[in-house]
Symmetry: C2
Subunit: 205 residues, 2 copies
Amino acid sequence: MGNNQKIGSTEEKILEAAKKVFIQKGMYGARMQEIANEAGINKALLHYYFRSKDQLFEAIFQEAFTEFIPKAFSVFHSKKPFEEKLKLFVSNYIDVLTANSYLPIFMLNEINQNPDRLGHMVNMMGIVRDKVSVELKINEEEGRYRAMDTVQLLSLVIGMTLFPYLAKPIIKGAFSLDNETFHAFLEERKILIPEIILNYLKIKN
Amino acid sequence: MGNNQKIGSTEEKILEAAKKVFIQKGMYGARMQEIANEAGINKALLHYYFRSKDQLFEAIFQEAFTEFIPKAFSVFHSKKPFEEKLKLFVSNYIDVLTANSYLPIFMLNEINQNPDRLGHMVNMMGIVRDKVSVELKINEEEGRYRAMDTVQLLSLVIGMTLFPYLAKPIIKGAFSLDNETFHAFLEERKILIPEIILNYLKIKN
DNA sequence: GTCTATATGGCGATAGAC
DNA sequence: GTCTATCGCCATATAGAC
């Protein structure tokens, strides 16, 4: 393992091109010819490096899974206080998503069409839930937070954070936001989302 | 216009089958043969009723758009107080989604791959935003709510509500929820989501 | 490793009998 | 309206020269 392919190597050019086309068109909409064009090479070379379209797709999909998701959830493994973790997660997640804005809808769609692809993600999310559970419990027992189900909390935060990327064309179209305004809209959520959640969790004196 | 095709007519059987297959596999993953099998008829009949695969797809897509979306957002045209509208919207939206749980990921994905398909939705969402804006403004001026951007509010509520349907296999898999538990999880959100939003909006005395 | 040329199969679409 | 048979294309995949 390890990313010690030369930068600019043919294999890497193929992976870049395939990522772009697969994410844009999906597994069935993508064409091997288009990937070859995008990579500036011949169609037959794709089969030389990756035996089939399926295997090329799987390489892209797994790469997204093993790099993207862990990066987004890494904060939960730190030792910071819960409120800080929450703020950092949202902020960090928004940055990662902004840099890969077409990845989420692609991944969700492919997982829905073939749930077998879930793989390791299941374990990772389970660990995140357990860690968050412990912190919620402590805060609850010490009278700072109200009781709240961890799965609800996580899915609310992730839902709020992720949605603008999934519905980007709808939001931009329906509310006539240009790129700059849309970006500002996303940035604002780094503050807004933790604020809303913490405001609900915290018991007022 | 008008749904006065006989129930069980060939055309309706085709539409049912096409809806099922297109939603499951997407535009490019779907096969005309599979739709024909699902409808219990011959492949050639599909072309007799709908000239091409594209036109059949468009029929399905537009039906989802013109029935599903307006139903979900109809509450905002009523005269109830804002808090009630919010609660009804979330509750009603969850019911509509539960009855069509594979529709959202399908629609979002197809819109992302071809944003031209947005069509009328743009106008409808614009109207919803304007109505909500007015109500937020009144509540703000009368000192009950803090100031909040309408697009943020709408996208937070929709994001929280929609997300479990988009990530259904992930949530069920990662947190090992069976069907019953997952359904209870969804029901709980009818209360939770409005509570969180209103708790944030309302200014405490 | 990289290319051109070609094989192979599948899919959307049509022709034409009934 | 509904079927069977078939066309024509295009996409994946392979063969084989360089």
